[in-house]
């Protein structure tokens, strides 16, 4: 075993958005950082040619893979395997499904994936960045469900603004509405997003125009106003001249991170520079990592998941590249396996990692990384797994528990006229109607995006439409006209239901299940509660009302052969994972019931912080990346303050 002789201020595990925000913020504030990344060296090379060639390799793999699932462009390594939706299978009673990386103990399979490699899962995220609602932070007090967060919405608001700067959110604040949303309360009356909204699709317009203002949908015994809003998203559009900020900077005198307008980090000169007065927009879109002149606008590739060919969509490499190169050391092909602690003080004294040369060989060297402060930012499943493998941070017995995801019930049908899907970003409009209300006492809330990509998700359209038509004997012009009639009329709605924290939905480890390097494979225990099933039943009725009013012919079909199905009051529903892996090391005010405090610092180890969606006590109805990024800034600030002492 090799001891690292060099001591860093901070050791970070993981180069996804959480780890990258911490690395960038700390190095720009003058701290020395060691970043450990399990994936391949090539993915983190920021030299122009190498970065371009590597990324084009991802794109080529995407083109050449038949099942274009979220992980399809990216290497899946035996030494650092990734959970993949393609591995999901039905689970037989009392017999875990062991296909792929995750060991699925059930009773139903966890439906989401992640990527373990440079940039993490932001490489294939969709990019939707709605904020959570104020009421999401007090589910226990308001609705007697789950737990409250250790702070309220207002406490997170300044960090939300930092996250929106960092990700580069395009959106229209004035258009944000729905239950528990008002511009003043949620954003402040003068707030703007860094870039103007991504245009809503033609398809969105065709759907929205079918509903007169005041149209109501009925669920949970009440009528609710059906509304449509443009979705804020981390995707480059036109910079907003009214957005005042140029960077997030550490203010040592005030002990705070601040958004400010005078200076900004220059990635090329690797230092701060003044923002010229004559510059009309303070915000500049961040382009591709290989060439900052590419990707300043979304170009409509319609492949955001799994890969944006021009990097107009945000990914964490853009943030990581802003780290001060003089102060960051990156170790790739370095898989963190264990956190070492001092038995008497409880302080972390090192992180053991396995360094491999060949990603498919079981040969590795063990090293120990040393710092003053340690940060695990390896995603919610991996963070929990590493903590469990180390036997630490778990005096609350909450590590690994409360695993959550948005359970996405999909509904699909054919519009009466063409909406021309399979164009533009994956979703540009959402229905906020079911995001909050008294009904949350009885069933889950949801956000309901309109999908711009037809029936691709549930039915593998349009490939399956061609295959089915050909199998039925269609050919020639009849086939062409059939595809031309059907595919452009496809409509898909999501009902992304907020899963509540359940102690038995959890990540565990088992010495019978190890990977190629002898690290634990996560064992996942997962189920859908009645609170979720009732939501499926209510929202299927909402979908029926929407389809009927819009003249949409319903083709939704739920079966018991779909691995994630639930039965409720005699009916079967199918759902899919949203890729929102949340809640395995939640924060709280009570060390008996939570793993970390409000800053992500573990209760049990003063120099160990956890970053990522695992910290979230409840999920809300927002895509979680924005919220976890806000939390990562909050944690960065806390670490900078701890390092001052």
């Amino acid at each position: 075993m090799q001891q690292q002789t060099h001591e860093y201020d901070v050791v970070i595990v993981g180069s996804g958005i959480g780890g990258s925000i911490v690395a960038k913020t700390l190095t720009q504030a003058g701290k020395k950082v060691l970043l450990l990344e399990a994936g391949l060296e090539a993915g983190i090379d920021f030299q122009k040619k190498e970065a371009f060639n590597n990324y084009m390799g991802y794109l080529d793999k995407f083109y050449q893979t038949a099942a274009k699932v979220p992980n399809s462009p990216y290497p899946n390594l035996k030494d650092a395997p990734s959970p993949d939706v393609i591995d999901i299978e039905a689970i037989e009673p009392c017999k875990p499904a062991t296909n792929g990386y995750l060991v699925q103990a059930g009773p139903i399979p966890f439906g989401s994936d992640a990527w373990r490699g440079p940039g993490g899962t932001t490489m294939h995220w969709l990019g939707s960045t709605p904020r959570m609602l104020p009421n999401d932070f007090k589910m226990k007090s308001l609705y007697d469900v789950g737990v409250d967060w250790p702070f309220d919405y207002d406490a997170l608001k300044p960090y939300y603004e930092m996250a929106e700067f960092e990700i580069g959110v395009a959106g229209n604040v004035d258009e944000q509405k729905g239950p528990d949303v008002s511009k003043d309360k949620n954003y402040g009356k003068d707030y703007h997003f860094p870039m103007k909204k991504i245009p809503q699709s033609y398809l969105d317009e065709k759907v929205i125009e079918k509903f007169p203002k005041g149209f109501k949908v009925h669920f949970n015994g009440k009528a609710h106003d059906l509304e449509f809003v443009s979705t804020p998203q981390g995707r480059n559009s036109i910079p907003n001249p009214e957005y005042p900020y140029s960077d997030v900077v550490w203010n040592e005198d005030k002990h705070k991170l601040e958004l400010q307008s005078d200076k900004r980090w220059n990635t090329f000169t690797k230092g701060y520079e003044a923002v010229p007065d004559q510059q009309t927009t303070k915000y500049t879109p961040v382009g591709a990592v290989w060439d900052d002149h590419q990707g300043h606008r979304c170009e409509g590739n319609a492949s955001c998941v799994p890969i944006c060919p021009v990097q107009a969509k945000y990914n964490a490499l853009k943030t990581l590249r802003k780290s001060d190169p003089k102060l960051i050391t990156t170790q790739t092909q370095a898989v963190a396996s264990k956190v070492l602690t001092d038995e008497s003080s409880g302080d972390v004294i090192g992180i053991e990692y396995k360094k491999y040369e060949d990603p498919n060989s079981s040969v590795f060297e063990t090293h120990i990384a040393k710092g003053k402060v340690y940060v695990l930012a390896a995603n919610a499943i991996e963070n929990a797994k590493i903590l469990l493998a180390s036997g630490i941070a778990n005096s609350s017995d909450q590590v690994g528990r409360n695993l959550m995801d948005h359970m996405v019930m999909l509904t699909w049908g054919l519009l009466p006229e063409k909406g021309f899907p399979y164009r533009g970003p994956g979703s540009t409009t959402n229905i906020p109607t079911m995001r909050d209300g008294d009904f949350r006492k009885e069933h889950a809330a949801c956000i309901s995006p309109i999908d711009n990509w037809g029936w691709g998700w549930p039915k593998f359209s349009p490939g399956s439409d061609v295959e089915n038509a050909v199998a039925a004997g269609m050919f020639g012009r009849e086939l062409k006209y059939h595809i031309n009639d059907v595919v452009p009329r496809q409509l898909l709605l999501h009902f992304e239901c907020e899963q509540t924290p359940e102690p038995n939905n959890r990540v565990t480890i088992d010495p019978n299940y190890l990977d190629n390097l002898g690290n634990y494979r996560p064992v996942i225990h997962y189920s859908a509660s009645d609170y979720m099933k009732k939501a499926f039943a209510e929202y299927k009725k909402v979908s029926d009302q929407i389809f009927e009013a819009a003249g949409v012919e319903d083709f939704t079909e739920y079966t018991t052969s779909h691995p994630d199905y639930a039965e409720y009051e005699g009916k079967v529903y199918n759902f899919w994972g949203a890729g929102h892996i949340v809640g395995t090391h939640r924060m709280g005010t009570d060390k008996e019931e939570s793993v970390v405090n409000e800053n992500g610092q573990t209760w049990d180890h003063q120099n160990l912080y956890l970053v990522g969606c695992g910290n979230m006590p409840t999920l809300g109805t927002s895509n979680p990346t924005l919220t976890m990024s806000a939390l990562a800034f909050k944690t960065s600030e806390a670490i900078l303050n701890q390092l001052k002492d």
Binding site: G300, S303, K480, N484, V487
Partner: protein
């Protein structure tokens, strides 16, 4: 006189037009004709391929589109005839796949399904910022 060598390449192109519903000029425009022709040669028993092209020659010599259409339906579409080549050729042109494998990156991006669906292959031939707010510029039907 044959435009291409071997002469089967012409037969392949012309029968592909009838099978897919796309004009030969559109098929040639994909740049995939030779690749797909060679894919068949590489994967299917030569005797079967020879018999298939003989059948194609006879069908293409028929008088009128309806006669050709009927003959294709009876001769080339049934799964048991010529190793299912009729359907496989359609799927190759529409999806860029042979069986369940993508033939090449170009085969994916040149799939006819995207044209038929009035869009572009995801991740390629991007139509540009704001394009999705309008109807597609190119409308086929």
């Amino acid at each position: 006189m044959s435009k291409h060598t071997p002469k089967e390449l012409d037969l392949f192109l012309n029968i592909s037009s009838h099978l897919t519903g796309f004009k030969t000029i559109s098929l040639l425009g994909t740049g995939m004709t030779e690749t797909y022709f060679n894919t068949i040669t590489a994967h299917v028993n030569p005797n079967t391929v020879a018999l298939f092209y003989e059948a194609c020659a006879e069908i293409l010599a028929l008088d009128g589109d309806n006669a050709i259409k009927d003959a294709i339906k009876n001769e080339l579409i049934p799964d048991g005839n010529y190793a299912g080549l009729g359907k496989k050729i359609i799927l190759m042109w529409y999806l860029g796949n042979w069986d369940n494998d993508v033939i090449s990156a170009q085969a994916y991006t040149q799939g006819l399904v995207w044209d038929a669906a009035e869009t572009h292959p995801p991740g390629a031939k991007q139509p540009g910022y704001d394009s999705w707010r309008e109807r597609p510029i190119k409308v086929n039907c």
